[in-house]
Amino acid sequence: MIQSLRALGRALVGSMRDLLPVVVVVVFFQLAVLQQPLPNVVQLLTGLLMVVLGLTFFINGLEIGLFPIGESLAHALARKGSLFWLIAFAFALGFGTTVAEPALIAVADEAAAVAAEAGLIGVSEEEQISYALGLRLTVALSVGCAIVLGVLRILKGWPIHWMIIGGYVLVVIMTSFAPREIIGIAYDSGGVTTSTITVPLVTALGVGLASSIRGRNPLTDGFGLIAFASLTPMIFVMVYGMVAH
């Protein structure tokens, strides 16, 4: 009992330390640069308390919940030896977690507004909605393909840097062909696809796979799935821009 309380205390202190830089920056800019008083100090403090508690819970939950289930699934699928189910799982995980991602929905709606304003699609609401939906499906499809590609890489042991560099080359080539309005959105869409719950699970999947296949190193082969998930959306969104406009 005392031991677990002590562990909780340590975790809380750790979360506070994680949060300290943000607090220092905000207070410094507010007081020293903008020279204004801090509004609602009580609300600020209760909010910070919630953030610290939340971070502690989250990390604890990762260690006992998300990491173990991700890894045990990866082990079980690897042991089953069925390539089909492994690929199906990888695709479902990438597609399923991305298509409902709130950040992506926000970006897609914004992109539809941009496209309508630029005259690339009609200004009517239906056209904007279908454009935004198409964009969301495109990004989700691209993340699904990315996880599949990453899993195949772990299985075959392909070197990651050639694939990433190849992806970069594709992005650069596509940039010169894609309509100008879509470029900023395409570049940003790479960053919004990986949510806080997807990242630990995908990481656990990669590391679990790499450690259950002989000849693979969890460090050099297990990581890299997220890198694919943030690269392919750029390419797919630019393709979408070229096709839809």
């Binding site: 220092v24 903008l34 609300q43 953030v51 971070l55 939950g61 409902a100 570049y187 940003d188």
Partner: protein, 260 residues
């Protein structure tokens, strides 16, 4: 009012988790067809993750986001930037925005340290590498990358230079570094680009970018407002590889020194 928000955030987090639980549960039941080891513990862990993330987001929305967004608009406000200057508001110099660059760097750094998904990857990396890749080393390296990236991104918005020049130049640096960096770090470095930008960093950085594009004369919100996130994704790749290169270099020097 507050309860409403708590409820909404909890629902939102649940909606985030639902597809994952459905997919994992579906595969476990239909394909693996074996019970999960420590099922209760895993379920408790998932509840912790949902509750923790919801608390985290509500707390941010209560404490830091309103203030951060307000500061972003105040710092980009021409009244603040031209307060001490006597020139006409049409002819500005990019260096007039020095507080914006400083704020972008400081915010980029500090929010990255508090980013939960980076924490998750750093935890895993430390465990997998047997402690060779320290949690703090990795997180500070990523945070420096985000700080530089976001700061440079605000500079780009102020000057209006085209986004893709920067991105392509950054790609060239990343590719060159890949050739020289220790092989162990490369997948992790590529990954750290994607994990930096989720719950904490994006809302504040997006507010800063849109605020800038709105107030800087001659900028278009739609064309210039985007792109900060792309910067925040690319620069950590470089800084993490640089971190590995520096520690390798120091280890080699130490070895050479002790060999004499």
């Amino acid at each position: 009012m507050l309860w409403n928000e708590v409820w909404q955030t909890l629902l939102g987090t649940l909606r985030d988790v639902l597809p994952i639980v459905a997919i994992v549960g579906g595969f476990q039941l239909l394909v693996i067809r074996r019970p999960v080891a420590n099922l209760r513990r895993v379920l408790v862990g998932i509840v912790y993750v949902v509750v923790g993330l919801a608390l985290f987001l509500i707390g941010l929305e209560q404490a830091l986001f309103p203030l951060g967004r307000l500061m972003a608009t105040q710092l980009t406000d021409p009244a603040f930037i031209y307060a001490g200057l006597e020139q006409a508001a049409g002819a500005f110099h990019w260096s007039d925005y020095y507080w914006v660059y400083a704020f972008a760097a400081a915010m980029g750094f500090s929010t990255t340290i508090a980013e939960p998904s980076l924490l998750a990857v750093a935890l895993k990396a430390q465990k997998v590498s047997g402690g060779a890749i320290g949690m703090w080393g990795l997180r500070i390296a990523v945070a420096i990358g985000v700080a530089v990236g976001v700061s440079l991104g605000t500079y780009r918005i102020v000057t209006g230079l085209p986004l893709h020049y920067f991105i392509i130049a950054a790609y060239i640096v990343v590719v060159t570094q890949t050739a020289f960096a220790p092989r162990l770090i490369i997948p992790l470095a590529y990954d750290s680009g994607g994990v930096t930008t989720s719950t904490v960093t994006v809302p504040l950085i997006a507010a800063l970018g849109l605020g800038l594009a709105e107030t800087v004369p001659g900028r278009n919100v739609l064309i210039d407002g985007f792109g900060l996130i792309a910067f925040a994704c690319l620069f950590p790749i470089m800084s993490v590889m640089a971190y590995a290169q520096i520690s390798e270099y120091r280890a080699r020097r130490q070895r050479a020194g002790s060999g004499e």
